[in-house]
Structures are given as C-alpha cells and as structure tokens.
C-alpha cells in the first residue's frame, strides 16, 4: 500500500469535537480517556482577536521518536506509514510522551493514551474514524502525495486573506502523515517551528544498545572458555604451593 496521510485543515475546522467522540467510540475509550485533545489558542492581536480550540493528536511522523524509544514494541508503523499502537503491549513507561517532539502522548493509569491510526480501518483501505465523522470537511484521508497537493492548493487560496497560512509537515521528523493546513504560523497553535528526532535517541537505539549487547555476549563466551583453562591452572598452582582460598 502506498503511504497514506490525514489532512487536517484548521481553516475549515468548526471545533465541534465530533472527531474526539468518534475516536473514543472506535477505540472503546472511557469518557475521560482521549486520543484527540483540544487546546485553546488565540489568533490575531487586540482588538481583532479570535479564540479557537484546535485539535491535537498524533502527527504520524515518518521518523517517529515514539517508535524509537518504545521498549515493548507497542508503537509501530503500518503499511500506510501511519503509526499504530497496541495498548496490550504498552507498559506505561512514558518514554514516548517524553520523546515526542509535539508532546502528544499522555500516560494515565499505566497506559499511554495515543492515536492508534485506526489500524483495522486504514490497513483495509478505509478512513480513520475521525476523518469519517468530520462534518466540516476539515479532515480528509488519502495517499500522502494527494493530500500534500490538496494542502498546498488550499494554502495558496488562504494566502490572500491570511498571509502566514502554510502547510505544516515538518522535515525535521522526515515529514508527517498528518498534514496540517494552518491559517497562521505554527507558534500561534503552540506547534514547534523546527521539531526534530533527537540525535540522542539514534545513538541510544542504533549504537549503544547493539554494541552493548554484542560486548555482553562476547564477554560471556570468552569468560566461559577462559574459565576452564584458568581454573585448572589455579588448582595446579595452589596444589603445588599448598595455598587454599576459602577460610
């Protein structure tokens, strides 16, 4: 399957929070558990200020920090390039919440609360629950290329009224498979301008851990072999000299 993406157009969102409810139904969440959160933000400056509640959920980064750090493999990529989550495997360690450049995952009652990418639906060519329910047409789902073109076209139209309008799919995380159309600069929405996958996480997972495991296995093997020889030498030596270790 080609890479898919969700398009989230903040200029069309009417802030009804229907996607949050559809998501809760789809994923069997309790009323106080959410994968989609809404955050307040202000646009413009006095006297022309507007208040908004913007939708925040997983951005489905191509180079996902959460996948890098998850020790149990509870977070993983699907064939659609969306990021999936298996709650049964989650140990609630909170590493993903810590590593996410967008601070999206939350940990409550020893489980991460994070988007599952509606694996059952999206891997079978269907739209995720949030997209399917969106009445305003602010969310759409399709091939990543198509969604990016659609976003760029929309931004070009928005530019006339909103000069700061832009597509948000930051390159620092390899692009995202949740592509935003923003009416204003990312900071207005509380989004980082240049998020990236921390170098340290690559060093940790791709250098330190494999090298350490190899060193551990190698040392164990050498110690096992060496022991047979060394123990015999020692016994021979102490037998001659009559020295014994234990008291």
């Amino acid at each position: 399957m080609t890479a898919q993406a969700i398009l989230q157009d903040m200029s069309l969102c009417m802030e009804c929070q229907g996607c949050r409810v559809a998501c809760q139904m789809q994923n069997g969440l309790a009323p106080d558990q959410v994968y989609i959160r809404f955050r307040f933000h202000e646009q413009g400056s006095y006297p022309k200020v507007t208040h908004h509640i913007g939708r925040f959920t997983c951005l489905h980064c191509t180079e996902a920090a959460c996948i890098k750090v998850c020790p149990t493999g509870a977070v993983y990529k699907g064939e659609t390039a969306l990021t999936h989550f298996d709650g049964a495997k989650c140990s609630g360690c909170g590493y993903c919440a810590e590593a996410c450049p967008f601070q999206i995952p939350q940990v409550k009652a020893d489980k991460a609360l994070r988007c599952t990418g509606c694996e059952q639906l999206t891997e079978n060519g269907k739209s995720p629950a949030c997209v399917a329910t969106c009445m305003a047409g602010a969310l759409s789902f399709g091939s990543a290329d198509e969604m990016l073109q659609k976003a760029e076209k929309r931004v070009a139209a928005l530019k006339k009224q909103h000069p700061n309008a832009q597509v948000y799919s930051p390159a620092g995380v390899g692009g995202t498979h949740l592509i935003w159309v923003l009416r204003d600069s990312p900071t207005v929405y509380g989004l980082p301008t240049a998020p990236e996958l921390p170098v340290s996480l690559g060093v940790w997972k791709d250098a330190v851990q494999p090298a350490g495991k190899l060193a551990m296995a190698g040392t164990l093997l050498l110690a096992g072999l060496g022991f047979v020889i060394a123990r015999r030498n020692h016994l021979r030596e102490t037998h001659e000299g009559g020295a014994k270790h234990e008291g």
């Binding site: 020790p71 149990t72 360690c93 921390p198 340290s200 996480l201 330190v208 040392t219 110690a223 234990e246």
Partner: protein, 221 residues
C-alpha cells in the same frame, strides 16, 4: 589442618553485608532492566511490575554507599582511597595481568589488600555507579524537568553505565570463581597461605600491626 591462627579477616561484617546488598539490588535491577532491552522479554514489562521491582531495586542500590558509610565509615574511606591509588607494583601487575586472567597468581608483582585489577574494577564501578544513579534519577523523577533531547542522553548514559557494569560483573564473577573467592565474602576470612600468595604487602602490614598489640583491630580495614 587449619587452626584459627591460619585465618585472617579480610572483609568485615559490614563490608560483607554491603557487598551482598549491592549484589542483590544490582541483579534485581539488571534483570528487570533487561525487560526493556530484550524484545522477547518485553511482555514482562506490561502491567508495570518490572518497573515497580526496578524502583525497589533502585532504592536498595542507592542505599549501598549510605549503609557502607554508616556501618563501616573507615572501611568505606579506605576502599575509595585505595581504589584510586595505583603504585609501581600495580602498574607492573597490569603488564602481567594476562597471566592472572589465566589462573596464575604466583610470581606476580606483590599486591596490597586489594590487587591492581580489583582497584581498577572498584574505580570504574564507582564512576559508573554515579552515572547510572544520576541518569536513573533523572529518568525516574526528572521526566518533566528535562528536554526530550536531554532525556535521550540520559537513556544513553544509563545504558552505557549499565553495559560497563555488567561487563565488570562478568569479570568479577570470573575471578571469584577461578580463584574460589566466594567463601571469603561469606565468612569474611581468608587463609594465610592465600594472603601470602596474592596479597603479600597486605600480610606484611598486618604482621607489623600485630606486633603492636593495641592496634590489632585494624586488621579488617
């Protein structure tokens, strides 16, 4: 036949207790930590039991130097001082270390109460102890205080220190088993013949001290 006179106290009661506290907490931490390192074990991490055990282990592990300082302050100071001071015999000993690795302790440069290899083992362990405790505390309690990047570096530091400590422990176990040294850490005593072979400078010190009867109790430190 071995009489009581043939036995020398090498490890005080407090030193032995602290050693085994370190052993138990270290192995508990290593085993519960492996759950996050070996993918096939990751199933044990769900539910948070391994995390709870890891934190119980961490508290015991943190208590090790505190207990050592409280119950045998002098021994603690000596050990730290000794572990970071290498003399000429120690350097010559390192040059001949491969022989010791293969089970030959005879005719090596004379050693004090702890040999050069043990000194290096302790010194590295102490440094790694500091790294693993500080990074561990940051990962446990500092989650909201450190940035995502610094958090990543704490994971790097924690794992590097862990690997070094595991390698040291494999080495430690190796020498303990080759030289049959486990009993000494249980009873505290070693034979005079052993001390003469592996730690002659220490034995000489003890004998000199024994000729000054009032200071006999210093033997253990």
């Amino acid at each position: 036949m071995k009489g009581k006179a043939d036995l020398i106290l090498r490890f005080s009661r407090a030193q032995r207790a602290v050693h085994w506290l370190l052993t138990v907490s270290f192995f508990l931490l290593t085993l519960t930590g492996l759950v996050l390192l070996v993918p096939t074990l990751s199933g044990l991490g769900t539910g948070g039991i391994s995390r709870l055990l890891h934190r119980i282990g961490a508290v015991a592990f943190l208590a090790v130097p505190v207990c050592y300082a409280l119950f045998d302050g002098r021994g603690f100071k000596h050990l730290i001082y000794d572990s970071f001071h290498f003399d000429k015999d120690d350097l010559r000993w390192f040059a001949q270390m491969p022989r010791y690795v293969l089970g030959h302790a005879k005719n090596l440069p004379p050693q004090g109460r702890i040999n050069a290899g043990e000194k290096l083992h302790h010194a590295t362990l102490i440094l790694m102890y500091l790294v693993i405790c500080l990074s561990g505390l940051a990962l446990w309690l500092g989650k909201d205080l450190v940035s995502a990047s610094l958090f990543g570096w704490m994971l790097v530091a924690h794992d590097v220190a862990m690997f070094v400590m595991v390698l040291l422990t494999i080495g430690h176990l190796y020498f303990a088993l080759v030289y049959g040294a486990v009993g000494a850490m249980v009873t505290g005593y070693v034979t005079r013949a052993y001390a003469n072979m592996e730690h002659p400078k220490w034995l000489a010190q003890l004998d000199a001290a024994a000729s000054r009867p009032a200071r006999k109790e210093e033997q253990a430190s």
